[in-house]
């Protein structure tokens, strides 16, 4: 018996020689196991993320094999570290350059809320400039916590409609940030 784990098929109708399910479930399944992150690491959380990418914690087993520092083809923006107000527009531009579907994960106290840096120069949480899907607490969060946040994103991706972009709620959210 091999101990390779295989992802379960989504709910659907099974019969001999066919399997019917919703397109969004199948697409969500595929998307959630091939999330391509764009690491936006500015400080210590970025170091913690490097450990997450390393062989011991191995982020790649989630299909997140292609980590690139370019918005091209990236699905998940992982913001790790203190974002100063001067960095805010840069972060926003990176987010705008990513194509839909896109998700955002704020890793650590600084990205989520400004953390200990309650100062004139630090953005008090990246959700002031871009919408955030998952917040990972901790200062810095351990790799397990980052993986937990990643799996929370996966769950979102799996269960969301592929037409998320057209949802009024999502459009209202983007409009709140002045995007499109």
């Amino acid at each position: 018996m091999s101990d390779i784990q295989i992802v379960e098929a989504p709910a659907g109708v099974e019969g001999s020689g066919f399997f019917a399910t919703k397109l969004s479930e199948a697409v969500g399944l595929a998307r959630s196991h091939s999330l391509w992150p764009l690491p936006f690491a500015t400080s210590c959380c970025g170091i913690e993320f490097m450990a997450t990418m390393g062989s011991h914690y191995d982020l790649s087993r989630f299909g997140a094999e292609r980590l690139s520092f370019s918005p091209r083809q990236a699905d998940l923006l992982m913001v790790m570290g203190t974002i100063s107000k001067k960095m805010g527009p840069v972060l926003r531009q990176v987010y705008l350059q990513m194509a839909e579907p896109r998700w955002v994960m704020a890793v650590g106290a600084c990205a989520s809320s400004g953390g200990i840096f309650d100062t004139y120069s630090v953005l008090q949480g990246i959700d002031e400039v871009i919408p955030v899907d998952v917040y990972v607490p901790g200062c810095p969060p351990r790799p397990e916590a980052i993986i937990d946040g990643f799996m929370a994103i996966q769950k979102l991706v799996r269960t969301e409609s592929i037409r998320r972009r057209e949802e009024p709620k999502y459009q209202a959210l983007l409009a709140k940030y002045g995007i499109q």
């Binding site: 107000k85 001067k86 106290a109 953390g115 200990i116 309650d118 004139y120 120069s121 607490p137 200062c139």
Partner: protein
């Protein structure tokens, strides 16, 4: 060349600028003098070009804010004579209503960024600076954050306590 003694240095300055240089201290042997913004350019020029002193290296330009003083903002120059391994600190205090002081870029190109930083944090305007804009903070900031005119953080707030962050 041997290190210049503080007395000798002060004597030279007093001979050159009688009555316009005051010694305010010598912490850890670092001679600290105060002067006026009308002569600061000449003082810096003299310290840099005098063949016996040769304060050719500008270590830093920064500022300080004493809200209780009549002239609250002080601009501080640190010079280092690489030839004699002597250091000197010069302070010039400015009134709140008139935060203008001549630039030192004519003597040291390195003063450019230091003066921009001093402007950024204290609002000191260096007359003659070619590009006086903020260097570290966001451009649309309207305040000068290092001035002591902001209240301290509310000690009763708990939203940033360590236990929220797992520390």
């Amino acid at each position: 060349m041997a290190k210049i003694a503080n007395e000798e240095l002060l004597q030279k300055l007093n001979d050159k600028f009688p009555g316009q240089i005051t010694q305010t201290g010598a912490d850890f042997g670092l001679l600290t003098v105060e002067t006026d913004k009308n002569v600061i350019s000449e003082v810096l020029n003299f310290l840099k070009t005098d063949s016996a002193l040769q304060f050719i290296f500008l270590t830093d330009i920064t500022a300080i804010h004493y809200p209780e003083l009549e002239k609250p903002i002080g601009v501080i120059y640190h010079l280092h004579s690489l030839a004699t391994n002597t250091r000197i600190r010069i302070k010039v205090f400015l009134a709140e209503a008139d935060l203008h002081i001549p630039t030192a870029i004519t003597l040291w190109d390195g003063a450019n960024w230091m003066e921009r930083e001093t402007y950024d944090y204290f609002g000191v305007i260096f007359d003659g600076h070619p590009d006086l804009r903020r260097i570290l903070n966001v451009d649309d900031m309207t305040v000068f954050p290092m001035r002591k005119e902001f209240p301290l953080e509310d000690p009763n707030r708990i939203d940033k306590k360590d236990y929220f962050f797992g520390r």
